[in-house]
Amino acid sequence: MMEMGDWWRRGKWRIMVMLTMLHIVGILIFTRGFLLTRTELPYYSNCSDVSESPCFTGQSNPYQNQSNSRCWTRPAVDRLVIIVLDALRFDFVAPSTFFKEPKPWMDKLQVLQKLASTKRSARIFKAIADPPTTSLQRLKGLTTGGLPTFIDVGNSFGAPAILEDNLIHQLASNGKRVVMMGDDTWVQLFPHHFKKSYPYPSFNVKDLHTVDNGCIEHLLPSLYEEDWDVLIAHFLGVDHAGHILGVDSVPMIEKLEQYNEILDKVIEVLDNQSGPGGLHENTFLLVMGDHGQTINGDHGGGSAEEVETSVFAMSFKKPPPTMPSEFDTSSCEMDLDQKKTCISSFQQLDFAATVSALLGVPFPFGSIGRVSPELYTLGAGTWNLENNIEGNCPNQKEEEWMQNYCNVLCINSWQVKRYIDIYSASSVIGFSSEDLLHISDMYAQAEENWSCSSESLLLFKDESCYSSLPLKRKIDAYFKFLLNVAELARSKWTEFDLKMMGIGFVIILISLPIYFLAMMTKSVNGFSSLLFGDSEIFVKLVFALFMVVIRACSFLSNSYILEEGKVASFLLATTAMFKLRNSIKREKMLVEAIVFLLLITILRFTIEVGLSKQAATSLFMSTHSSWLVEIDPGHPVWIYMAEIIPILALIFLAYLLYIIMARSSCHSIWKYVVLGTILCYILIAVHWASESDVLSSMLMLQGIGRNFIPRIIYAVGLGQLLLLAFSPLFHKDRDLESKMHLLIKTLAMLSSCSSTIIVLSGKQGPLVALVTITGGYCIMRLGNIDRGSTDKVAGILTFDPLSVTQWSLLATCLFFVTGHWCAFDGLRYGAAFIGYDEFVLVRQAILLMIDTFGFSHIIPVFGLPFLVARQKLLGHTDQDGRLLLLQLSQMYLMYGLITAASVIATILCVIIQRRHLMVWGLFAPKFVFDVVGLILTDILICLAWFYYVGRREDGTQLTTLDHRD
């Protein structure tokens, strides 16, 4: 116990490094379980690829000569109509007899039900979607045949367009003309693929009709046109009605009835034209949902209601198809009219492969689905009618079906195997080798001995009829292989590893008690063993902890995460009011308290303007635009002000630095550093002046200056930091403990960081810097309000916990004030290119990082010692020096504790809400930002500790403690 305590006391830096390691390890483990990653491959399938497959050896391909247009599979349908009804629940389509009790929203799409029960060419499927069940991810999944995850590492980072191989790309590149109408998400995903498109804005959830009416307007006329091969109509009304009012509502039922009417008309048109030589002689209709929804209209997660949607498929070809009963997995019930309705099951994963097979285009490269037997049969079951030889075998038709299907599966399996092989070869986080071996085994099994071709079946031809047994066995082997691959991919790409997440969370959680212990042990032995001797400090501690806890709790709801900046400023204003009350109580520093409140009011408005930028890009925020202040930015006075004010602020900052330098008598090194910063500020001012239209003509700086000046500033900043880092080598200062010295060190550090951060932040930089300085000054003054008179250290804490909390809240506010928010589109990509034109990943990433975390992490952590500074500078007594060290260490620990606590809350929230609608849109980006922020804060605290204190504390601490003992 004693050794432990000694170790504990000897060096705070060890604890800080240990905490950093703890956080990094915990976060890494958690992230492995939580952030599902998948690498997008830049490869595309081509028609010619199929010759590499083992499926066509020699003349065994029976259709080789029949059609030149044949690619991978023989086209089975000529035209395809896909009607997507967004958020179509399974029970909207299936007859109510399939469910325990009928609900008001059931049996509304009666056209589909009637057709499914009366015609053999129509069938209802229960389609299972893979989470995340949001439209964008689902459309991506449907068209690529893959499983989109949170991080699809690929070229499309930031832009929504799908660059992976997909169905629409294959259609377009194989000469199929695609027409799209409805939800504009399609146009975002496939900007250049459609021959014609009629997109309508989808983001206004309250608008039930715009998209649908647009669809209706174009859908029916298009059916009479000849200029398309694939028609996609995406209706959004049901999704929006669910989002606003829920499933059990009048508009929802009205919407379903409206759809019933439209579908009736569509089917009528298709049916009328389906005669021989008609426009829709060989047309296939798919009415499908992209995902389901809960009774409240939410979707995104993985609950049964959300993933269960429906597909209605109908072929207008005559006669209707047949299929061996052993592949028919449907379950049948009587519907309301006492007719038998059968419903099959279908994985959305299989959609891309099945449709590709039906239309005869290559399967998308990354598709891991299998060609669904039932859906394929509906479209392709009867295409080889002309080959039908009159025979007395009753199951000859089935036999041919199987042979054909087996061929398709052969291509299907070969394509999936190719993808898995190339994926594991090129992806960093691929599949484990055992899994791969297992899959290869199964593929080999499926391939061995039997080929689907008729040649190998000749062996059995001697008998009166074909024996379908070997074919069936082969199809089963393919099934086994494909299903195994899908299962493996699902476990890898869509399932959270709860065990990993739990372990990671616990590891991070352990850091909390360490923070407390580290903060306590020292002071117990140090100055006062009086536990909470001063009730004032106790009240403040409780209040500060209350603020931290309430902020942490706020992360449990997506609404508060969206409005995090406002929440932070709300809490900051609350603490400021508490301080104001305090200063009224003491009748001191009223001005500072009021200035601080005013500052927060300004921050609050700036945050709202920043959020308005987010509203422009984020769908979630669009409903909240009424909160914003309206400013007309076009006015020339504003433009002029925007040019001049930052430069003035910069000059003021430089002046401030100069004054402080002139007043203090300090060592030359620090002086040089600060002088360098002043020079940088002047350079920045020149840089901005040269960029503005008004002044650029006067100064001949445009060409080189644009990139030259920022580079000089980066170089100077780096030089300053190096100088500071090696400053102990130049002169041994024993007067480290003096406050003045600490202040100068802080100033030098802050000033050397600030120039780079300001130039990256752009014009807002100097203003934000001024706000930071004013805020920090007020917090510092107000924090020392109780100290001035009685210079005693009471209780367990040697500082004002509320000040550190305020400092941390201010840092959070600054993050939002500088125009960031916790989403990837919240990064200011422009900042990465200040001083550089070309993109170099590491360099630009560092610049972006400095811009993103500069004002919210780097400056606050290095500026924390300012809070220690008191007005009264005491003498260089040993006691005083040790007190300073103690204060500094406790403040850093407290700051770390606050950051860690909020991140832990975020992580907890992510665990709880991992199946939430917005987990990928909101919680996961927030998690990434928080986690990066925490690690950065930890590292910065360690660096700051080394810089301000170094390891010297060991010696002094030990001697004094020995003395005491």
């Binding site: 508060y560 409005e563 009011m577 109580k585 927060i600 609050r604 202040v629 309206e630």
Partner: protein
């Protein structure tokens, strides 16, 4: 927690019955305001917040000022009328302070919010500033004691201090549901904040009465 003050309090002593009566009047005033809005104008806080708030504060204003003025400090030196005028003057000043506080905390600003904010802050002023102004006038010491130190001594201090703090804290908590995406009409500014303030006000009035009662019970034997 609170010791009976040893110094003689110059304000009129207040019996628990009087406390009960005043709190009852204030509570009833609040209820009447809501009731009138609902039955005579058929509006509610949700459908028309600014008019309802105006009705409430107009109903409560005379009650609060007239009754609290009875317990003014130094009744010999300060006439009843003066106390009433003090209360009336404090109404807009207190409203301004409350409005500024709310804006610092994040209350929306804009033309469409202006009447709502004005009426809400007038009501808050009635809960917080007006009683104190009527009783203490411009005595900075007393204001500081009540609002900064939160050290009420006499019964009348409790009657002012507790409901004022209750209203503010209630309003603070009332603001929390506002950012939630429930899309309920009452999440608009200042509806839920007003509900929170009223709830806090009513609860702390009961508390204040209980404390005065308890204090009275303790003090009477001492006085004898």
């Amino acid at each position: 927690m609170v010791k009976a003050s040893t110094t003689e309090n110059p304000s009129q002593s207040v019996s628990p019955m009087q406390t009960f009566f005043i709190h009852l009047i204030c509570g009833v005033g609040l209820a009447v305001g809501l009731w009138v809005a609902h039955n005579f104008y058929s509006i509610s806080l949700i459908s028309n917040p600014s008019r309802t708030l105006r009705l409430i504060w107009v109903t409560m204003c005379p009650l609060v000022i007239l009754f609290y003025s009875c317990f003014r400090k130094n009744p010999e030196k300060c006439s009843y009328l003066k106390a009433v005028i003090r209360g009336v003057l404090a109404l807009p000043i207190g409203a301004l302070v409350n409005a500024l506080g709310a804006i610092a905390l994040g209350a929306p600003v804009g033309i469409q919010y202006f009447p709502k904010t004005v009426n809400w802050s007038l009501l808050m002023s009635l809960f917080t500033f007006v009683p104190a102004a009527s009783v203490f006038g411009s005595s900075w010491e007393d204001w500081r004691r009540i609002f900064a130190h939160t050290k009420p001594n006499a019964s009348v201090d409790y009657m002012i201090c507790l409901p004022a703090h209750g209203a503010v804290i209630g309003a603070w908590f009332g603001a929390w549901p506002m950012p939630l995406d429930w899309e309920r009409p009452w999440q608009e500014w200042p509806i839920c904040v007003s509900y929170g303030a009223m709830a806090g006000y009513l609860i702390t009035m009961v508390l204040s009465f209980v404390l005065v009662l308890a204090r009275g019970g303790q003090q009477h034997p001492k006085a004898d």
